[in-house]
């Protein structure tokens, strides 16, 4: 195999441009595991570890810009207060050793349907910054996952950063797996409240691709608008929360595999969505009353 070690951004982008099909490697928690599992090594890999700009993060104009090499441990240890939804998802990833190595950019690049960060990024209005010798562009994460195992990243592009607006309300992430820790998600769900735009945004993991629960979002938006619940800060009726959960599960393309049946995923997802929304709304109400 060919192993490329660019020293700076320019060299990295040029190497990517000249060699389509090159696999960028950050923490190696996917590529190296694949190698150990006899899935083989990629013909060409580009090591991102020396690109310091990918580890930087900054905050400005109401948004966080996290370099693609930001690890899950960084999210859990340093950004729990600022980005609670994403930090909760990062904390559910694998083991501490995996979280020390695994990165946001790597997760987006591999686009595993069960990856923990993706639902949170979806609910938290993340944008993905992609760069190539042709220039940079930003793709909303809702458009980034274009199909099972596929993303909007072009062959010559590197994922450089993830941009997240400052949270306006509660952000939650919940996950079901066969073990208490260090386990792939059977399914997962993220929810974030955006009072300024009157939106409850979601993300679903464990389906054929990471995707928002769009039908459930629309249903809830309609209910909240019709009853003026954003303004009143009243409790959500049980049947609304329950129906939201059901819609979140119904909208996902779920399959049978060695981890669970599609039927179980559907059931568990509806429970996660229901519980998450109930808790998020409760937090929102409490917060609102405290401010008022």
């Amino acid at each position: 195999m060919e192993f490329l070690l660019p020293r700076d951004r320019q060299e990295a982008l040029e190497l990517m441009a000249g060699r389509p099909g090159t696999v960028p490697v950050a923490g190696g928690t996917d590529v190296m595991v694949g190698w150990n599992m006899s899935r083989g090594l990629p013909a060409r890999a580009l090591d991102l570890s020396r690109l310091g700009h990918l580890s930087r993060r900054r905050y400005g104009e109401g948004r966080y810009r996290l370099g693609a090499n930001t690890t899950y441990s960084t999210l859990t240890d340093e950004l729990r207060g600022e980005l609670p939804g994403l930090a909760a998802a990062a904390g559910a990833v694998g083991s501490r050793q995996i979280r020390n190595r695994g990165t946001l950019g790597g997760s987006l690049g591999s686009a595993w349907p069960a990856a923990d960060a993706h639902p949170a990024l979806l609910a938290c209005r993340a944008e993905v910054e992609l760069a190539s010798v042709r220039g940079s562009r930003r793709v909303p994460v809702r458009e980034f996952f274009s199909g099972p195992g596929r993303t909007a990243r072009e062959g010559d592009e590197l994922i450089e950063a993830v941009l997240l607006p400052r949270p306006e309300g509660p952000q939650l992430f919940t996950k079901v797996g066969r073990k208490a820790v260090a386990t792939l998600a059977t399914c997962s769900f993220a929810v974030a409240l955006w009072p300024s735009t009157r939106q409850v945004l979601t993300g679903v993991g464990g389906a054929d691709r990471p995707a928002p629960a769009a039908v459930a979002e629309a249903f809830l938006a309609g209910q909240l608008a019709a009853h003026g619940t954003w303004e009143s800060g009243e409790r959500l009726p049980d049947e609304v929360v329950r129906h939201f959960g059901e819609l979140a599960a119904e909208g996902a393309v779920l399959g049978d595999d060695v981890r669970a049946t599609a039927e179980y995923r559907r059931r568990a997802l509806s429970v996660l969505a229901r519980r998450s929304l109930a808790q998020a709304w409760e937090n929102y109400r409490t917060e609102r009353h405290r401010c008022a």
């Binding site: 919940t174 079901v176 997962s188 060695v258 049946t261 179980y264 808790q279």
Partner: protein
Amino acid sequence: MSGDAPTRRSQTVALPAQPDVEGRGARIGEAAPRPDGLLKATGGFAYSSDLWAAGMLWGATVRSPHPHARIVRIDTAEALALPGVHAVLTHADVPGRKLHGAMVVDQPVLAMDTVRFHGEPVAVLAADHPATARRAAALVRVVYEVLPPLTDPDSALAPDAVRVQPQGNLVRHVRVRRGAAQRGELPHADVVVRGEYETGVQDQAFLSPESGMAVPAADGGVDLHVATQWIHVDHEQVAASLALPGEKVRVRLAGVGGAFGAREDLSMHVHACLLALRTDRPVKMCYSREESFLGHAHRHPARMTYEHGATREGKLVYVKADIILDGGAYASSSPAVTGTVATCSVGPYEVEHVRVDVRTVYTHNPPSGAMRGFGAVQTCFGYESQMDRLARALDLDPVEVRTRNAVRQGSVVANGQVLDHPAPVAELLGRLRAMPLPRQEAAPSGSATAALCMGTPVPGRVVRGVGFAAGLKNVGFVEGFDDYSTARVVLELHEGLPRVRVRTAAAEVGQGLVTLQAQIARTELDVETVLVEQGDSGFGDAGPTSSARQSYVTGGAVKAAAEAVRTRVLRRADELLAGAGQGPAAGVSRGAVVDGNGAVLLDLAKVLAEGAVAETVEWHHRPTRPLDDGTGQGDSVFQFAFSAHRAVVDVDVELGLVRVVALDCVQDVGRAMNPPALRGQLHGGSAQGLGLALMEEILLERGEVRTTSFTDYHLPTTADVPRMRTEILECADAHAPYGLRGAGEMPHVTSPAAVAAAVRDATGRALARLPVRPEDILGLHHRKEDPA
């Protein structure tokens, strides 16, 4: 304590790991730190996979992707042509016996005309780099004619079933007939409960995958360094397949990273030797985790139908059971497992009338073989599920119904054997029930309980349940097998001071014999410095490190050899003292020979100045007898072991998730030889049982293994395993060295049934299958494996 048990001592063991007391090594009953403990904890221990030799080659194995196929052709030319490849071998290159098997010789060293399971070795090769070896393995062209596999054990005995082995698909059928069942009847019972139960395929999942190195020797023979449980049975099989006389094959123990039964059969042993002899280079073979899942036999999946009849008072009248074990493609340990299942089929309960049929069948699933608990795990889940069912039918407390039927010394168990040693089952249960229960934690929001999903804490519907299980299993080999051990003890002067050297060929696989041999030697000879030396195949047989037998049998051999040494030392002392008006010599103490009052007669150094005293002893446990063919009766077991568990679980009843919050264990061990190591066995076995109860399962799809990594084979983590209370009873067995009872298997036998019972208690679901899956708790249907 049951009244008839001659209890020596009974205590709660609560021992922190103690360092060696300055200048005084541990005797039996004291905490002995492992000499390899720190190395293992810090990554410095050399496992078999760390072996290295100058000029060595790396072996790789080509395995069948099909559960059943005819081999049409094997073309090795392309692989051989790859630069760096030194040899590619097939069955044609096996010079000696082409089959192996520790019990039944039926498994090809390399597949010949047929492959019978997914992962069966077809060819092996050696190359100068592991990556080259892997690439070459992909270049070995094997043309298969794929055949339909037989994967449903229930249909294996049908007359029209595909024959997996030429003699038919029955490995062994053991019938147990006691009481009226010997006349073909069963008496009336006031209450009858029936149930069908099933267990999945559990993997031993040891830390260090199969590995070893074969080094060609100048005499035309080979030295095999390998991680194994039984050096001598490996040696015999390797020599037979290599067509070499025994003395030209030397099997030596390499660092073993766990075993749990998975190292009882050969894996890479003959392969590495063949490649080393062909290339005249050392050849190392080291399985990947994926390969390890394919490369050893797993726990037998079982399908069990039970019927229990009892009086209104809850006294068992009869037990009827039909048990099918899936033995997979080759016999492995199946014949012995079948016997254990039969003997342990009704549990630690008095049952006058028993009618049990246990059949193990061949299928094209991967071979089943030895794993910690050896069949007793599966039956414990069956009979303990039944005891709970009986308790419900009679509206009795689950502990009460067990206590009313519990065996004690003098009771008769399923094989008709009278328990002539303590069997304090009622006391185990009583002590468990007396332990405090854990408190339930409140949810973050206060009112509701905390959900068991991961991520942000949210409230959920969580229900608590409590379950009990008791069980029994034989220690050591059974049915007339004489699994003796050999020990050599040398008492000598070293730099002017007495020193003991102990040698056996017993395999230390992590269980702790390494400290025990020294503890025994110190206890018997009262000498501080003890060297424990590892014997190889040139030394006397120690039998396998399995069946919780090494403390008993090899411990017994070391004790006997040390006693023989002491007797000779005393005789020599008497000769030296002759005419001095002292003596007679009665013992050794603190480096001196002493008289009956403990008064020093002379220094050990003086006695040993004439030369070292060495004794080699072959030690046998008391003989056992075969099971009668028609009735399964016979004194087939030299010792039974007992344990009981109480599990407390929280179940998220909407998600089907379980968190075990307590898993407490009480076990009778006769004598706690090294209490911290013993406690480790109880913790480890309980955790492994928790794994089987809730998550560990190899999934097969039409014979193909679908779970070959720890991504989908779920091993419990520290977050899944609760703190455990353990209590140790020491009810001495007068037949056993120091009264001890084999301890390593029992915690794994009873913990799965207890966890399942607790989940049932929480959910009210029948839960007839292990592992309990979230789908089972929610009452959802499953993907049907094997539409067959």
